[in-house]
Amino acid sequence: MVPLWYFTPNLDRWYWAGGTGVLSAVELYGLFAITQPDNLCVTNAGYVANQASNGLIIGSIYALTAVGLTLIYSVQGIVSFAHGQSYMIGGYASYYFLQLFTDLNPIVGVPVAGLVTMLIGFAFERLFLRPMHLGRIERAGEYAILITFGFGFFLQYTALAIVGPFSQKTDTYLESGSLHLGPLNLIPNRLVAAAVGMVLIGILLYFINHTWTGKALRAVSMDKQAAAVTGINPLTMNTLAFGIGTMLAGMSGAALIPVFTWVPWVGMLASTRSYVIIVLGGLGSIPGALAGGLIIGLVEALGAGCYPDPSRGAAYKTAFGLILFALTLLLRPTGLFGRES
């Protein structure tokens, strides 16, 4: 704790922030080990490794959802409060598509869901966000919060009206139960989901860094006017960014529906988690969202696994991330990789 306090004023480099974070995590763990000597997390290293690996696996798919949100923020400068609902819609798009066929691997649903949510994102952006960027709306910042929030509200209840308050689930990716790797006990189904997440993030990074359109997106996120001067249309890029962001949310939903059961309000938790991740990683930073996703996965898994009372630990899973989030907002609002605004 002492170094954390000591370094707080100059947490201006990510490695300082990260290093201090790791250090304080280690110290917290030490404190935890002293107060709870009988806890499984102290006595059994294999258990810890197992929890951690499962956390990282699930974290990589959290990262995919959050990357979409952070992409929207970096280009448009707004936080989409409808992101969790896009995730939920993506899951259902995949579900209903798979219902049309028999014996189709759920992985096929991912691009379909991506297409559906991307079109929704494009339509919403053109109709409701473009007027804001054209300066037709007073108090753009407030409008952006409310309009995305309202859109999420609409999607939420539309899904509830169509689907009903019942839980649904597609087939799993793979049949087999679990995969033993030394002390690690991995669930192949989740591994596939995580692999989907990682592949999609890889494609996105390639797209952003090596194609003209991706470079144009980054240019707009750095400086709208300068980008416009070089012949990039910021409005098109805004639409594109919003569409891709929603698409990523939808695809992560489709990737997770074979793993979790799906109810219309599943998006609430996903959106809260995405906010946590992007703020932790720094709003608008893609590597930040990636790191944040993994950290949150880790924190949730270890927090749930190590909390002295196991049933409560599971219930508090989300709260651990949220506390980390509140602390980030208060101590270092730019997050790990954030740009100074």
Partner: protein, 336 residues
């Protein structure tokens, strides 16, 4: 000019009289009385959110959390210490105010989207804690609250809530019209400019948080004493989005607009639960909320001041504003 001021007071008086007399018509229908009472409660929530977000520009999503804090404090005191509801309500109100103070202090540096995210996190943490610590709070089963007093009737509850609504509206209008209102408005427009002009931004930001959380804490603890039970679902973000939608549709920058908007939408949503037309029976269920969401985004896009704005504007401000605009035009003509 004088004639106009009179007409606005007449409008308010007519409205209040109507609300006071309504129970005479509805005496036989406890269900409709309860719906109206609930609508008053939402009107308090929406108008206080309009004060916080619309007038002071602080986009907090923790309004329902303060309702929960008020109601849970009152309920837990009543259950464990056997206090009377009045004491519980006082304690709940103060507790909400205290937490509002803390949140206000913590949120000083946060702006717009960051503030929204922080308050979402706060209310979610609170909700999760209440669900999880079920040995103390009864968790998702909900905490029972005693009635306001022995043998309280629906009509009495109606008047209690109406009095709360009128009282809080009067307080908020007084605040919004005072120097305080001017200062928070200036803060919303441009915080740096406001503080450069000598507005103590820190103080007013915290004050607006404390005042609105006191109001909703009071409303929450009273209302849930009438309902008899509070569950953690009250503090869900979806409930909060309901309040926000009501305030926006009614008009976020007008306290009266938000209150009437909330009242009408709450009443309308409840009445549309199922409709019978020409023998057709329609269960609208979640569709009415979906339509409500659609109404919300179209209101935001095409009538940013809310759907009630034209009416309120006509009643209250139009003449005055036209006059100033006309004057301004004259002045510029003279200058040029």
């Amino acid at each position: 000019m004088k004639h106009r001021i009179d007409s606005r007071w007449i409008a308010v008086a007519v409205l209040v009289t109507l609300l006071v007399l309504t129970p005479l018509y509805l005496k036989r229908s406890p269900y409709q009385m309860a719906v109206l009472t609930g609508a008053f409660f939402y009107a308090i929530l929406a108008s206080s959110w309009a004060l916080l977000a619309g007038i002071a520009g602080q986009f907090s999503f923790a309004h329902m959390a303060f309702v929960g804090i008020g109601a849970y404090t009152a309920g837990l005191l009543g259950r464990d210490l056997g206090t009377t509801p009045l004491v519980g309500i006082l304690a709940g109100t103060l507790m909400a105010g205290l937490v509002g103070l803390i949140i206000g202090l913590l949120c000083l540096r946060l702006k717009a989207a960051y503030l929204a995210l922080f308050t979402i996190a706060f209310s979610e943490i609170l909700r999760i804690v209440i669900v999880t610590e079920f040995e103390f709070t009864e968790g998702s089963n909900g905490l029972q609250l005693s009635k306001l007093w022995e043998g309280v009737t629906g009509t009495q509850e109606y008047y209690v809530t109406l009095a709360l609504l009128l009282g809080s509206m009067a307080l908020m209008y007084w605040l919004a019209g005072s120097r305080f209102g001017l200062f928070v408005r200036s803060m919303r427009e441009d915080e740096e400019a406001a503080s450069a002009m000598g507005v103590n931004v820190v103080r007013y930001k915290v004050m607006i948080f404390v005042i609105t959380s006191l109001i909703v804490g009071l409303a929450g603890s009273v209302f849930y004493h009438q309902v008899g039970i509070i569950t953690p679902n009250t503090m869900e973000i979806l409930q909060m989005s309901m309040v926000i939608a009501m305030a926006v549709i009614g008009g976020m920058e007008s306290l009266l607009g938000a209150a009437i908007g909330a009242f009408l939408s709450r009443f309308g949503l409840e009445m549309l639960r199922e409709i019978n037309i020409l023998g057709f029976h329609l269960e609208l269920g979640a569709w009415r909320y979906a339509a409500f969401g659609l109404l919300l985004i179209f209101t935001l896009r095409f009538a940013q001041n809310g759907l009630l704005y034209p009416i309120i504007d006509r009643l209250f401000k139009r003449r005055a504003r036209e006059e100033t605009v006309a004057k301004r035009v004259q002045e510029t003509e003279v200058e040029s």
